[in-house]
């Protein structure tokens, strides 16, 4: 259903505006019915009094001069009167009973000389016919047949009323929309805060004011944020402690290796130590990335990506031709540059290590996010592994060899960092063979 909006604000506004419309329609109906009653009463009274007034004027004359009295009547309201031997012909339908009764009641209100009251009354016509024909029989037996105009009831008589009503409705609708927007605003603030917490665990707390429900939600949110912060700090502290404890023995070993006489053995030992150091660095990075105290700054994402490719090309010049970039020349993002560089480096180095090449392409920003695709022409990733490779310390079995190295932390670290920035990374295979890594990042 397209009329039903997705946003809470939209829905609330629709409900309130629909209620407002219902109330206004009901109000208008009540007003109209009331007015119909009132006008009916007024007009029937008017008709009755006029008809009986004419009758009285004629009845006051002696019977012989009544013809002359009818002739002398000065009727200025469009009424007509005729003295006839018979009641009026059936020219119009019989008057609607309630209207007839009301006319009859008002006819009683006109004082008539005693003994001259009409002995019999007929009535035809009504509002629809715009006139009423009343037949009244004199005591002498002949009839006075009077036609009195009866204008139809106009409910919407006043332009002022309609304008005022319209203004009132518009004002109420505008107030409703404004109030909804104000009431809903804290929900949007909460959503923004949750998103900010995802990017930066040390984001400023929410103000705990406003309506009580919102204040409670904000307080609960702040409590949750501080718990997450503490958890993350504990984990970082533990990992940093491990890293700190390991760096001293590794340093000692590296120094000791320098005193070994066997060059080949020393070279191998230093290589092992470098690997060990890289593992400690990866573990530290895995523990730290989300909590990093690195500040968020404005960075040119294009140059960040190209710099990673340039560094890879510098390290392995033979692959320089196979490291390509395609996309915009400048794209500004708000990120933690060191962390994001680590994430993209991990992904690009995976392609280089497994497939000896990486084709990186970047999209123009679309709907507030940019997509970076890293493709290679290597063996690709087995379907069963597509999700598992994101688990810490998981490695694809066939890749357990010296060349690719690593601890199975590259992808989890990259994903943690990207998710902490509000983005994500997914893996897939190209139809033509080779892996495709898709990175999204908000801009």
């Amino acid at each position: 259903m397209t009329l039903w909006p997705r946003s809470l604000g939209g829905r609330t506004a629709v409900v309130l505006l629909a209620s407002l419309a219902l109330v206004q329609i009901a109000g208008l109906t009540i007003h109209a019915l009331d007015r119909i009653d009132l006008l009916t009463l007024a007009e029937t009274r008017d008709v009755g009094v006029r008809a009986m007034g004419i009758y009285r004027s004629v009845a006051q004359a002696p019977p012989a001069q009544r013809e002359q009295a009818v002739h002398d009547l000065d009727l200025r309201d469009g009424s007509t009167a005729r003295l006839q031997p018979d009641p009026p012909a059936d020219e119009l339908p019989q008057t609607y009973q309630p209207v007839r009764r009301q006319i009859a009641v008002s006819m009683q209100l006109v004082p008539v000389p005693a003994g001259q009251r009409s002995r019999e009354t007929t009535m035809q016509g009504g509002f629809e016919d715009r006139r009423v024909i009343v037949g009244m029989r004199f005591p002498e037996g002949n009839w006075l047949n009077v036609m009195v105009p009866m204008p139809p009831i106009r409910i919407w008589h006043s332009m002022n009323f309609l304008v005022a009503f319209l203004l009132m409705t518009v004002a109420a609708a505008a107030l409703t929309l404004w109030a909804v927007r104000r009431l809903i605003a804290p929900v949007a603030t909460l959503a923004r805060a949750a998103e900010a917490l995802g990017r930066d665990v040390n984001a400023a707390p929410l103000p705990e004011d406003g309506p009580s429900e919102i204040a409670t939600a904000a307080a609960a949110f702040n409590t949750m944020a501080s718990r997450i912060r503490r958890f993350v700090q504990d984990r970082t502290f533990m990992l940093t402690a491990i890293g700190h404890d390991l760096r001293t023995p590794i340093t000692r070993l590296k120094l000791r290796a320098e005193f070994m006489d066997d060059n080949e053995l020393r070279r191998k030992m230093l290589a092992d130590l470098d690997e060990l150091e890289a593992m400690v660095a990866a573990t530290l990075a895995f523990g730290r990335d989300v909590t990093s105290d690195e500040p968020v700054t404005t960075v040119d994402l294009t140059e960040l990506t190209r710099t990673i490719l340039d560094e890879a090309a510098d390290a392995r010049p033979e692959l320089a031709e196979k490291l390509t970039y395609k996309g915009p020349n400048h794209l500004t993002v708000h990120v933690r540059p060191v962390a994001l560089k680590r994430a993209l480096t991990n992904l690009i180095m995976n392609a280089i290590n497994y497939a000896s090449g990486a084709q990186v392409s970047m999209s123009e920003p679309l709907k507030g996010q940019v997509t970076i695709t890293i493709e290679d022409s290597g063996p690709g990733i087995p379907l069963a592994e597509l999700q598992r490779v994101f688990q810490p310390f998981h490695r694809i079995e066939t890749s357990r060899n010296k060349e690719t190295g690593g601890m199975g932390l590259g992808l989890p670290i990259a994903r943690n960092i990207l998710r902490a920035h509000g983005g994500d990374v997914t893996l897939g295979n190209r139809p033509s063979g080779g892996a495709r890594v898709t990175v999204t990042l908000p801009v």
Binding site: R247, T251, L255, E258, L284, T332
Partner: protein, 254 residues
């Protein structure tokens, strides 16, 4: 306090290095390693001993571990670079904990000449120490100047403490280590022609491996990043006969 002195050959006396590290084994091994490569070394365990040793040794350089018991390495470095110490000319290489970016940044802001994350590669440490010693020899007056906080040229900012390049609209433009060093060399000698050989010489201290052709590659990448059109380059100009010059007024923030 363990002190070993070893004079490397005749001629100028070997530079004297003060190593400050609280781990006894690292202290001894590092001293042995540096001595083997022709340096004189005094090794102490903390800032207190370092202060006691300083007036007697005529040191050219201090290798300082930032994680020290008692007074921290950063506090000691701050004191060392203050006028009170009368030692601000001494070269300073910090050993930082791996990944502790803030320590490194504060250290460089305090005026350390270079840093090595621990666990370090001893040969790389030696190379950096030599580079710092050579730079100190190059410009004797340099040591008395306060550390550079930023260079500004043509709207761009080069921030040495965070090793980053900021565009005129304050967007960080990432550069590789080699590109950064090259840019520093050009900026420090703005409006002077630097031949490829001079650039190679200036950069060898940090750069390992072949860098010959890499200079041209790095220059073209830098031009791209500085939005300096290669054919009509305005900032980094090519000089006929094989050299480059940074053609811009450079402001230096102390």
């Amino acid at each position: 306090m363990e002190t070993t002195t070893l004079v490397a050959g005749a001629g100028s006396p070997a530079p004297h290095i003060l190593v400050v590290d609280d781990d006894r084994e690292i202290r001894e091994l590092l001293a042995r390693f540096l001595e083997r490569h022709g340096l004189r070394v005094t090794a102490v365990r903390d800032a207190r001993e370092a202060r006691r040793a300083l007036p007697h040794g005529h040191f050219q350089m201090i290798v300082l571990d930032l994680m020290l018991p008692g007074e921290t390495g950063l506090d000691f470095a701050r004191w060392l670079r203050s006028p009170a110490s009368n030692m601000s000319h001494v070269g300073l290489v910090m050993l930082t904990a791996m990944g502790e970016e803030t320590d490194r940044i504060i250290g460089l802001e305090l005026g350390a000449d270079d840093y090595m994350p621990k666990p370090f590669n001893p040969r790389e440490l030696l190379a950096r120490m030599r580079a710092v010693l050579r730079r100190a020899g190059d410009t004797a007056a340099r040591a008395s100047e306060p550390a550079t906080r930023a260079w500004r040229f043509g709207g761009w900012t080069l921030d040495p403490t965070r090793r980053r390049l900021l565009s005129p609209d304050q967007v960080e433009v990432p550069v590789t280590g080699g590109e950064y060093d090259l840019l520093v060399a050009l900026v420090e000698r703005a409006n002077r022609v630097l031949t490829r050989d001079m650039l190679l010489d200036l950069l060898r201290g940090r750069q390992a491996g072949p860098f010959d052709r890499a200079i041209d590659v790095a220059i073209s990448r830098l031009r791209r990043k500085l939005e300096d059109d290669g054919r009509h380059a305005q900032l980094i100009k090519t000089v006929r006969g094989g050299g480059y010059v940074l053609a811009a007024e450079v402001e230096r923030d102390g």
